[in-house]
Structures are given as structure tokens and as C-alpha cells.
């Protein structure tokens, strides 16, 4: 049977890899510790899962991976490209130049090449000023001299009218030749600084993304997988073709959370549920809405920078499998410190001397672990019962609190438990109509990646007086479809997964932000 797919997900503790069959059924799974360089662990997981599964390489059609490379590069300020930044908007916006609110070390790491030029639009699509094409050309020439490796262009109200960004990109290509250019209207929504920040970060991590894709392709060749398509998991729970991810790497920086949520859907068939993903260091609680991760509308900070782009809505707590248990007088606290992947050497059940959440669960018979090195009798003997019970109820109440926080309504909802640590949780939780831990829960993230659809989410702003609603919605859908096709989707399978309209207050006319998400099958 052909049509096997590989899914890999890099977490902070473990890197998971699976092979699923054409119907999405789990064939083989491996788990290896995430390495400090991330890439070697990822490649190892890929090798192990392909070789260990016994599936003939020619029957594998795709490799989908989700990784933290982009996020790590930003947070650690390493491997970032030198970015030439153009902002189009003068005379407006002069007050705060690009990257003014960035941490100095990050600003330095991306090079600090900035040009502000005349142009941009008003909320209603009128020009603030005509685009100063000469100034764009001069900026491009300067970037070229200074050795810029990528360019980020942001124009005022480009989500309403992208014309100036598009024209500026033409000029920059003309001057600089083959240089990656990131345009803000393809990345974020209204809110200039946040969108500009996301666009600059996108440009800065293009190099990192190219290198990891190249490395994965190299290993695929070694394994005889050169025919298979390569996809990268993005933040909204879908995947995009590797070539597309190289252009929009910022879309992939928080994919891990979404992979698990999407995996919970694949494993249970539940379209609406709360997903609790308990790993080694953190537990992420997110929401499945119509089969996809619910997205957040709030600005988010990455590496000390305010940004806005599509991100799953989730609550993270520092209570998970490897969390360290501390006793302070009468009080017992779990986390946020964690032994991470060292659980298997430091945990009490593995002969170590650090009391972890997993040891507590083993002591109370709340969990079973399929590992010959693990001795559940040891924590039972060494941890006093009252401490174990206090720690356990602390863990449960923190998870219940997170479940409640992520909800938007008080009604009970089904809760799906995924991730390696989640077996310790009780099958009854406050706020849950039912608690399900499906088969394959420990690999839900990689399964989510392996089975993901190709998708695109776009956000556009319209004035319904200017563009009537039906035409606006049609335009938004068409644009989302075009992007999904560019990202590797088969056009005949594309379906609209979500249409959301958000009116923007305090403005005359009828200004509405339209968000459209489409998803379909891969064009193989």
C-alpha cells in the first residue's frame, strides 16, 4: 500500500516522529531527545522512523515536519540574516522608527539597516503620499553595499491596499537581484509596529529555515526519499510546501502547539474540544474549533518583540511530566523547573534523586510507563503518601484552571489528553463533559504533522462601502485559495474552513477585518 506519510515534531524535550498510512492510521512511532542544535535530533528521528518502520521508502509520499528552529534563532539571536528594512509611510510614522522598541542585541543581530520613505495609504485607501520610488531605489543600493541578505518592506495600511509594498518590491529586486523580500501585507494585520516586527523577523529567519530544509532534504536522499514531497507545519495546524516555508518562515515558529491540537482531532474525530498536551516541561492547553486550532487575536511577544500574526490560542503552564516537586512546609508545589529529557536518569523511578510529577503519578498508580529501566516501586517506597497526594491534586488543579482559562463559555466540553505526560491525569476533570486519552496520544503532535492538510489563512481589511461585502468575501477567499495553491494544495480539494468578520470600531464607514482560512489535500 503506497501513500505512507512521515510526521516529525520537535518539542522542547523530545522530538517525535511517526509514519501513518494513507488513512492516517499509526504505523510506527519513535521518540528521541531534542538536541541542542535541534537539527541532528530531527534528522535522527527521521532516520529512525523510516528505517525502523520497515516501510519501503518508495511508498512514502511525504515528509511533514514542525520545528522550533525559527523560534530558537529569534530567542537566542543566532543565525539571523542581515535585513534591510524599508518602511513606507512618510510623512506619517516618523515618530517611532523601525525596531525602536526591540532589545538592542536583537536589533544588532539583524543588522539595523533602515530606510523610511514617503508613501502609504489611509484607512480608506487614499494615498498618504505617492510612493517615493527614488528613495526606495537609493535604499536598495545602500542595502546592497552594506551586504543585506534579506529585505523587509512595510507600508502604512498595506492590509487595505498593498500597492506600494508590491511596487517597492519590484524596485528592490531590480537593484539587488536575487534577495528574499518579505512584504508585511502577506504576514500580518492592522497595527503597524507589530506587523512590521513580524515582517522583519520573517526576513531574518529565512536563512535558518533554508538550512534546516536543506539538511532534511539531504537525509531524505540518503534514505531513498528524494521523490517524497517535503512540507513544514505552520502555526494554524496546516502545513505548507518547503519552498513556501522558505519565504514565510514566521508562519511556522509556533507550529508545535497546533500540531498536537490537530493530532487530537485526527485521533478522536472530535471537531470541537479542549486539548491538553502534557509534555516533559510544559503543558499546553488549546482548543479545537471546527477541527482546527482556535486562533488568538492578541498581540504576542517573541524574543522580546511585539508581533502580530496568526497564532494558536493556548495557555501554557509549567506543570508537566518532568516537573520538579518541591515541599515547603505544608505546601507542595510542582514546577515550573523541569528535568526535561533527563527524567529517565534523574527521576526517582529511574534510580535518580529528583522527585518529579511522573514519580508522583507512579507512586499513586495513576500512570504506567512502558520502560524496563523504570521501577514504579521506588517512588511508592520513597515518597510519603500525603506529599504524593498533595502534589497530585496540585497538578490536577493547575490543569483544570488552564482548561477553564482557555474556554470562552462556562459549558462543559470534551477534553482530549495528548502528549507523553498526560497519562497521569484523571479521566474526570472539572469543566470537562468527558475526558478522552486516545490510542497514540503520546505521538499526537507528530501524527498531527503527518496528517495535516495544506492550508492558508489570510486577513484582509475592507471598507464595505468601498468594496461591497459579497465582493470583499469573494476576494478574500480567492486570495486564501491562491496562497494555499502556492503552498502546495491541490485546487480541486480546497475548502473554506473559516470565515470571520471583525468590525473595526470608531471608524466611519464600515471597516471590517476579514479572516479566511482554507485547507485542502496536498498536490502529490
Amino acid at each position: 500500500m503506497a501513500g505512507y506519510r512521515v510526521g516529525i515534531d520537535v518539542g522542547s524535550t523530545n522530538t517525535d516522529a511517526v509514519i501513518v498510512d494513507r488513512k492516517g492510521g499509526l504505523v510506527y512511532a519513535v521518540k528521541t531527545p531534542t538536541t541542542s542544535d535541534v537539527t541532528s535530533g530531527l534528522l535522527k528521528a527521521l532516520k529512525q522512523v523510516v528505517e525502523g518502520s520497515g516501510v519501503p521508502p518508495e511508498e512514502i509520499v511525504s515528509v511533514n515536519f514542525g520545528t522550533t528552529h525559527g523560534l530558537n534563532a529569534i530567542v537566542q539571536r543566532q543565525g539571523l540574516l542581515r535585513v534591510g528594512v524599508i518602511r513606507i509611510g512618510l510623512p506619517a510614522t516618523r515618530i517611532v522608527e523601525p525596531m525602536a522598541d526591540w532589545p538592542a542585541d536583537l536589533r544588532e543581530a539583524v543588522g539595523g539597516l533602515v530606510a523610511m520613505v514617503r508613501g502609504g495609504f489611509e484607512y480608506n485607501g487614499e494615498e498618504i503620499a505617492p510612493l517615493d520610488e527614488d528613495a526606495v531605489r537609493r535604499a536598495a543600493e545602500q542595502f546592497k553595499t552594506m551586504g543585506a541578505e534579506a529585505v523587509a518592506i512595510t507600508s502604512v495600511f498595506s492590509p487595505v491596499r498593498p500597492d506600494h509594498e508590491l511596487r517597492a518590491a519590484e524596485i528592490v529586486s531590480d537593484v539587488m537581484g536575487e534577495v528574499p523580500i518579505s512584504l508585511s501585507h502577506t504576514i500580518g494585520s492592522i497595527g503597524l509596529l507589530e506587523r512590521e516586527n513580524a515582517t522583519i523577523l520573517n526576513a531574518a529567519i529565512i536563512g535558518v529555515m533554508r538550512r534546516v530544509i536543506e539538511a532534511v532534504r539531504g537525509t531524505m536522499e540518503e534514505l531513498g526519499l528524494e521523490h517524497a514531497k517535503l512540507y513544514v507545519a505552520q502555526n494554524d495546524g496546516t502545513v505548507i510546501a518547503a519552498e513556501y516555508a522558505e519565504k514565510y518562515p514566521i508562519l511556522t515558529v509556533v507550529a508545535a502547539v497546533s500540531n498536537s491540537i490537530r493530532g487530537a482531532y485526527v485521533l478522536t474525530g472530535l471537531k470541537d474540544a479542549i486539548v491538553v498536551d502534557m509534555g516533559g516541561t510544559t503543558t499546553n492547553v488549546g482548543v479545537l474549533e471546527h477541527g482546527f486550532p482556535r486562533e488568538s487575536s492578541l498581540a504576542a511577544e517573541i524574543g522580546g518583540v511585539r508581533t502580530s500574526f496568526m497564532m494558536p490560542d493556548f495557555v501554557a503552564i509549567g506543570v508537566a511530566g518532568g516537573s520538579v516537586v518541591k515541599v515547603r512546609g505544608e505546601e507542595v508545589i510542582v514546577g515550573p523547573e523541569s528535568v526535561g529529557y533527563e527524567l529517565v536518569t534523574k527521576g526517582i523511578a529511574w534510580g535518580g534523586n529528583v522527585m518529579t510529577a511522573t514519580d508522583i503519578a507512579l507512586a499513586l498508580d495513576r500512570m504506567s510507563i512502558d520502560d524496563p529501566r523504570c521501577d514504579p516501586e521506588r517512588p511508592k517506597r520513597l515518597i510519603p503518601r500525603d506529599i504524593a497526594e498533595k502534589a497530585y491534586s496540585y497538578i490536577v488543579s493547575r490543569v483544570e484552571e488552564a482548561i477553564d482559562k482557555i474556554k470562552t463559555k462556562p459549558d462543559p466540553m470534551p477534553v482530549v489528553l495528548v502528549g507523553g505526560g498526560s497519562d497521569m491525569l484523571p479521566r474526570k476533570l472539572a469543566g470537562a463533559s468527558e475526558v478522552i486519552r486516545p490510542e497514540g496520544a503520546q505521538s499526537a503532535n507528530a501524527i498531527g504533522a503527518a496528517t495535516a492538510m495544506i492550508g492558508a489563512t489570510i486577513e484582509k481589511t475592507f471598507n464595505y462601502e468601498y468594496t461591497p461585502r459579497p465582493r470583499a468575501l469573494e476576494e478574500a477567499k480567492r486570495e486564501a485559495m491562491n496562497r494555499a495553491i502556492e503552498a502546495g494544495a491541490d485546487p480541486s480539494t480546497l475548502e473554506v474552513a473559516l470565515v470571520e468578520e471583525i468590525a473595526i470600531p470608531y471608524l466611519p464607514g464600515n471597516i471590517v477585518k476579514v479572516r479566511v482560512k482554507v485547507a485542502g489535500q496536498a498536490r502529490l
Binding site: 510623512p91 502604512v156 503597524l192 462556562p410 470608531y506 471608524l507
Partner: protein, 365 residues
């Protein structure tokens, strides 16, 4: 008090404190804070003096931004428009301004005047016309004392300037609102030009230092491990009205205003009780089990239970654990005349205003 030269951390503290006093309104102070900090980084000074130190003959104006915050967060200011409004108003009145005064303590307009003071080199006065945030131009104590909003100036980033001279402050509000739309959604304004003599009577004194103190206490509490909500209430002279979890937030549009209502289920000492807060930009009326416990113009502020950070009305969401604080407004808002301008009835509530200190006494039994 002499002169107060702001340090960068003062700007951050003022932004946080003003958000507490802003009663959930005024928008995100982030941009104004960034602007003021940039001015300091470029070597300018932001200097404040006490209202008592202002001469009767001195001439004062209030710089601010007016319009839709969303458009301002996209089409950021050039910086020149804030200087321009002052210059053209001075030209029109053939007088120069000795001082600038903030108009409101809340959101963007709490930090914008700091920027204008820094960039124009004018001294600011530690006081304002609201002591909190309100949505309309005439809702300032200056209005209560008969000060005219006009002549006022508006300017955009392109260099367009407009001078308004209106028959009263309500007309100023209506016409200025229209001009901001044509200027792209927002405009820089200079408004309520007046002499020190009347200003000193009409001002709500020390609101900026009060905001700074609230912000500083909150910051210190985080470092020292003290309960941030307690620290904040002490600095603001406020009362804890309720503690609980948000169980419902509904929003709707009525007569062009974005209105809403948040429902909070009691926790701890408040278990079994329910608070409802009505808002329209700002929080207006708070009820526990149907009984009013606080109303506009007293300040109703919703705070994150753990961090004490104020939560603006647009960010309220199900599941947040919050403390609802009530802070007495300035006595100037408590006269019958003032209550006609900003009392609960002006906002359409069939509620009599009772000062929060009295309501809280009843609550204690």
C-alpha cells in the same frame, strides 16, 4: 515640589498607573509610552511642575490626540503635528503658551502630553482635566469652570492644520470629530487654552504623580513579593469591590457606541455572589446581585487578580480572574452641575450617583 524631571521608568509607571485610573478606557498606552521614551533617549527633557507653582497670568493649553486609536496604531504620527497645533494656535491667539497640561489620565492621552512636552521643550503641569478617562471633549473639569474648548487647533501628519472657533464645547466635539475623520481617523489637537488663574481652580491636581505612584507601587510589589492588588489600592486610595472569575462578556453597538457588559462570579470572600459591570469605552456602573456598588464618575477598574495589571474593556474575556476596584473620583465631579455632564444619567442609566465611600459603607454590613 519644584521641578520633576522624568526618567524613562517614570514614563512606564505613568502609563500603568494611568491605565488603572482610566477605568478600562483610553486605549492601549503602549504607543504614547514609546513616543515619550524615544524623546528622552534623544536627549530631550520632560519636566513637570505643580499646579500651585503656575502664575495666574501664565497661558496654558492641553495637547492630546483625538480619534480612532486603531488608525493611530497603523498610521503612526510624524511627530510634527503635535508641535504644529501649538504653533498655529499661538499664531491665531497671538500669545504663546507657558505650560502644557494633560487632559486625561488614561490610555494614550496620558503619555502623549509627555511626548509633546519633551519635543516642544515646554513645561508640563502635574494635573489634568479628568483624573480618569472619559470619551468626549466636554467631559473635563475645565468645561465645568466655563473654559471654552476653542479656539482649538487640529493638525495631521501631512501638515494640514485647522482652527476651530465654536459657540460651545458640544459643537467643538461634533465638528472636531468630523475633522479627525477627514484627516485619516485621528488628529493631533491643542484645546482649552486658558490662563493660570482659572486653570488652578479647574484642574484636578497631581494626577500624573498619582499615576506614577500607582505604577511604581505595582512594580515594587512584583519585586518584593507584596500582593500587587493591595499595593495598588493603597496607592490609588481605592477599595476592593469584588473578586471573581469573568463568566460572560457581551458586546453590542448602540447609537454608534460600542457598549458591553461583563459578568463576574465571586471567588473567595465573594463566593455565591455575582457582579455585573456595564461599560461604554470605560466601565460605568458596577452591581453586585443587582445592587449598584459603584458608578461613574467614580473610577471602576478591573485588574488581573495575580499581577494587579489593569485590563482595558476591549481585552476583557471569559475566564480571567479579576479584582474589581473602586477609586473615588475628584470632588469636582460630584457637584450636581458636574453630574449632569458625566453622571450615570448622562450615560443613560437610571441610577443616582452616590459617592463610592458611602456605597462601600453599606456594602460592609
Amino acid at each position: 515640589m519644584g521641578e520633576w524631571r522624568l526618567k524613562p521608568e517614570d514614563v512606564d509607571d505613568i502609563a500603568v498607573g494611568a491605565a488603572v485610573l482610566g477605568a478600562g478606557g483610553g486605549g492601549d498606552p503602549y504607543l504614547g509610552k514609546l513616543m515619550a521614551r524615544r524623546v528622552l533617549e534623544r536627549g530631550a527633557e520632560i519636566v513637570l511642575v505643580d499646579p500651585d507653582d503656575v502664575d495666574d497670568e501664565s497661558f496654558i493649553v492641553a495637547p492630546a490626540f483625538m480619534g480612532a486609536p486603531v488608525t493611530m496604531f497603523e498610521k503612526l504620527p510624524s511627530g510634527a503635528e503635535s508641535v504644529k497645533v501649538i504653533k498655529i494656535l499661538e499664531g491665531f491667539m497671538n500669545k504663546s503658551f507657558d505650560y502644557l497640561t494633560p487632559i486625561e489620565a488614561g490610555g494614550l492621552n496620558s503619555t502623549i502630553p509627555l511626548y509633546v512636552g519633551g519635543v516642544t521643550g515646554r513645561t508640563l503641569i502635574d494635573g489634568d482635566g479628568m483624573g480618569r478617562a472619559f470619551p468626549e471633549l466636554q467631559m473635563v473639569t475645565f468645561h465645568l469652570y466655563g473654559v471654552k474648548a476653542t479656539p482649538m487647533a487640529l493638525a495631521d501628519e501631512k501638515g494640514n492644520g485647522v482652527i476651530l472657533d465654536t459657540i460651545d464645547n458640544y459643537w467643538a466635539e461634533r465638528i472636531a470629530r468630523m475633522v479627525t475623520v477627514r484627516m485619516g481617523g485621528w488628529a493631533s489637537i491643542a484645546i482649552y487654552p486658558m490662563e493660570g488663574r482659572i486653570y488652578k481652580k479647574a484642574v484636578i491636581p497631581k494626577t500624573i504623580s498619582k499615576a506614577a505612584e500607582i505604577g511604581r507601587e505595582l512594580r515594587d510589589a512584583k519585586n518584593s513579593g507584596r500582593d500587587p492588588v493591595d499595593a495598588l489600592l493603597e496607592a490609588a486610595g481605592g477599595f476592593k469591590l469584588f473578586e471573581g472569575k469573568i463568566v460572560d462578556v457581551s458586546r453590542w453597538t448602540e447609537a454608534g457606541f460600542a457598549k458591553g457588559r461583563v459578568e463576574i462570579e465571586g471567588l473567595g470572600d465573594y463566593k455565591g455572589r455575582r457582579m455585573i459591570v456595564d461599560f461604554q469605552n470605560e466601565n460605568l456602573v458596577a452591581r453586585i446581585d443587582g445592587e449598584v456598588v459603584a458608578s461613574v464618575p467614580d473610577i471602576i477598574s478591573i485588574l488581573d487578580m495575580e499581577t494587579g495589571e489593569p485590563i482595558t474593556t476591549e481585552r476583557l474575556r471569559y475566564g480571567f480572574r479579576v479584582v474589581v476596584a473602586g477609586i473615588p473620583c475628584d470632588p469636582k465631579w460630584r457637584t450636581p452641575h458636574a453630574l449632569e455632564v458625566v453622571g450615570p444619567r448622562y450615560f443613560g442609566y437610571n441610577v443616582n450617583y452616590v459617592p463610592i465611600e458611602e456605597r462601600i459603607k453599606v456594602l460592609a454590613y
